[in-house]
Symmetry: C2
Subunit: 456 residues, 2 copies
């Protein structure tokens, strides 16, 4: 009799919300008062080895319960799966989740349902990396190219990138991977920081944090723009004065503009030499981005944190609409789809500068960027990962920044796990923090004003 | 003392699911076993006039609970609003819902959250039309062009269509509207039928239903394709033989193909003279549709039922990617966004042939098509509304088809309301139908196989 293989026994979910709106951390032209949140999921098994798979979707407050409900809708696809098979082929689950014909109607492959798939799929990769005893970036960088190709869904991108070309790119990427891996462990991966540039900060705070960023060795700072042009010109002048002429400053409009406004506004900021304009308009507007890019060069155009899937990224690249691809670890369908997106970027030789910040996005996306450097693009030239310095204290394996670089993680897994105490305290609406802060335990009657009123 | 104005007092939701998978009604290449469902919402007021606003998002089974949760997340924006103000300006709510900066993160303007907005906004229009004593198509057709323009969010489409041009299109559309309105009430609006063409039907059933469709005066039939080319060729031959050479047959791949496959497959079907190929690939792939259209002409390219918002429609039109725009009443953000989409189509002179079927989509979308005819496009040439002949019995004001035409509705409202008995019977999982059919009341442990097993 063969022993019963270990299986996934539970898909536990948590509605985790941090009250970040109180400090205006994370404020921008479209998101004045976010409460950074995670629709968090834990895969449990009966393997008896104490290992769990952790993952999450990032949201900014209201609606995190909807995101949790979406993750729960995937539960029947996950519970009961044999752990070893699942970890040997996370793509099998990815295909089943994307292919659920009834759930597919709710997207397809976009928004709440797709982020839910991303959370669950990423949790599987976390478990797989823990079982392999490797940080995820290393698991990916050491994997056979053919196996990586087997993890990718080429549907709807095959006209631009198919399995054969993907294999060739991965095989090319492998050359000298060991040297880059060693170099990465010594030097880390370049980071830039958004911490100085939130829209809610005073000019003095902005200038002080900008100078600190230079001193700390970051590659670039980023300013939020788009609410008021006069303010933006003044803030950009203050930032430029603080960092000097040769330091990169990116600007980020968080989708605030129409195409024409994006062009006018970016040109107005051009005298202060912004390196890129990020999210100038709707993430859905491929043709709009292409027109903006043509019109604002040499300022570069960047987007990605809200780009819903590989199909839109494919078109942004086909249309020559972006100079910088901003990968996000928790917006699309998880590691599998991000492998496709990294390969698309590699094919078009467009540098990937991942979006991070939020809750745990730095922790996750560093693995993907490091894999990209070690085993695909082979370079960190003009590449850097966004860094924002809050909420890391809630993670068991938080990112470490040294001399403006992400230190390569060494703990097994995807760095996704939060501390149990953080889950307890910030679980909404019944965690210890919220039980105290909320005027009523009914989430449907909660809104920000009520909470603020109660807290005042 | 002025009397207290009537307000919205409740946003009640219902998870309604019909067991359509048992009969293979609605089966296609991507959706083999849909359980047609509605995430249904009722707005109640304290006006004391017995009027309610009804709306819904259409889904195909699993995940309908997620869709309901998304509608519930909008409740705080709706409850307490003064009814008269709200009905005089549904756009004010539309803007607030789309502009909720925290909920926006879950889209933006796509998928589950956006369909939830559509359900609630459509319910407001239902209430507004009831209060006006008019069917919605007439309320829209009689409205001042300037007021209609005020109902539209031009963000992200202003580079192609702004308020001034929209106003001009609406003013042009008004000319002779009364005559068209009178003609519409006599003749109705042309319909085509998808009922013969579901993938799960036998060739005999297909041919019989196709002949009936011709006899019934429909303008076109539609066949589902994309699962197996040999089958499709045989079915297309059977359908062509049944209807003769001069009758239009559309084919619908429900996103089954990559770009290359779509081109090859459509060309293979070309000898049977398909009028349009519908959803040849991902609804997100604007550039892919453009390439397919260039490659399969004179077969026309149609899409829309899964197009997430006005921004993607804008690009489909800009890129010359579609010949037919398939408006859907419940996929985008409601009537307000559909006004924008109708105007975009009018600007590009692309005919609108709405998607319908599902649960109540015929009931809703007829109003939009009739408004388009009476007060915007001014023609029904090459235009027709899809018709599918199931589930209408659950509606209080069901569509009526006469001689292959939709009869213009005359009852006040948006024809969205279901019978209370249907809500009771098909509420999931505790309605009388499901209580009997389900092996367990826990929706997380329900799947189709279990249900079928229990029913067998």
């Amino acid at each position: 009799m063969t022993p019963t293989p270990a299986r996934i026994t539970a898909v536990d979910t948590f509605d985790i919300r941090f009250p970040t709106s109180a400090e205006l951390d994370g404020s921008d032209a479209m998101n004045p008062d976010p409460d950074y949140s995670a629709a968090y999921v834990v895969l449990r098994t009966d393997a008896g080895d104490g290992r769990e798979g952790h993952g999450f979707a990032f949201t900014i407050g209201r609606g995190n319960d909807v995101q949790v409900a979406a993750i729960e809708a995937l539960r029947p696809h996950v519970v009961g799966r044999p752990v070893e098979e699942l970890c040997a082929d996370p793509g099998s689950l990815n295909r089943d989740l994307i292919g659920d014909s009834q759930l597919r109607w709710l997207g397809p492959e976009k928004g709440v349902m797709h982020m839910a798939i991303g959370a669950v799929v990423n949790a599987v990769w976390d478990l797989a990396a823990k079982r392999a005893g490797l940080p995820l970036w290393q698991l990916l960088a050491r994997a056979e190219p053919a196996w990586l190709v087997s993890q990718i869904d080429f549907r709807y991108i095959a006209d631009v990138l198919g399995p054969d070309e993907a294999l060739a790119l991965l095989e090319r990427g492998r050359v000298d991977a060991d040297q880059r891996s060693a170099r990465l462990r010594v030097r880390g991966y370049p980071a830039y920081t958004t911490s100085p540039g939130w829209l809610g900060y005073s000019d003095e705070k902005l200038a002080r944090l900008a100078r600190e960023a230079v001193a700390d060795g970051f590659t670039q700072i980023k300013l939020k723009v788009g609410a008021d042009l006069k303010d933006d010109l003044r803030r950009m002048a203050a930032a430029r004065a603080a960092v000097g002429a040769d330091f990169r400053i990116a600007v980020d409009a968080n989708q605030r503009w129409n195409v024409d406004e994006a062009i006018t506004w970016t040109r107005a900021l051009a005298p202060y030499d912004p390196y890129w304009i990020e999210e100038p308009t709707s993430p859905d507007d491929v043709l709009g981005h292409a027109e903006i890019r043509r019109s604002v060069a040499p300022v570069k155009v960047a987007t990605g944190e809200h780009v819903q899937n590989r199909i839109v990224f494919k078109q942004l690249l086909q249309a020559g609409a972006i100079d910088i691809l901003q990968l996000d670890a928790a917006r699309v369908g998880g590691v599998n789809e991000n492998l496709a997106i990294l390969l698309l970027a590699a094919k078009f030789s467009v540098p990937v500068c991942p979006h991070a910040g939020g809750v745990g996005l730095c922790e996750l996306v560093q693995h993907l960027a490091m894999f990209d450097y070690v085993a695909l693009s082979g370079t960190t030239d003009d590449r850097m990962i966004e860094y924002v310095d809050h909420l890391h204290e809630h993670f068991q394996d938080p990112v470490v920044i040294s001399d403006g670089h992400y230190v390569a993680p060494s703990a097994p897994g995807f760095s996704a796990a939060m501390h149990p105490e953080s889950l307890e305290r910030y679980r909404y609406p019944d965690g210890t923090y919220w039980a105290e802060a909320l005027p009523t335990p009914d989430p449907h009657h909660h809104d920000l004003l009520q909470r603020k009123g109660a807290a005042a």
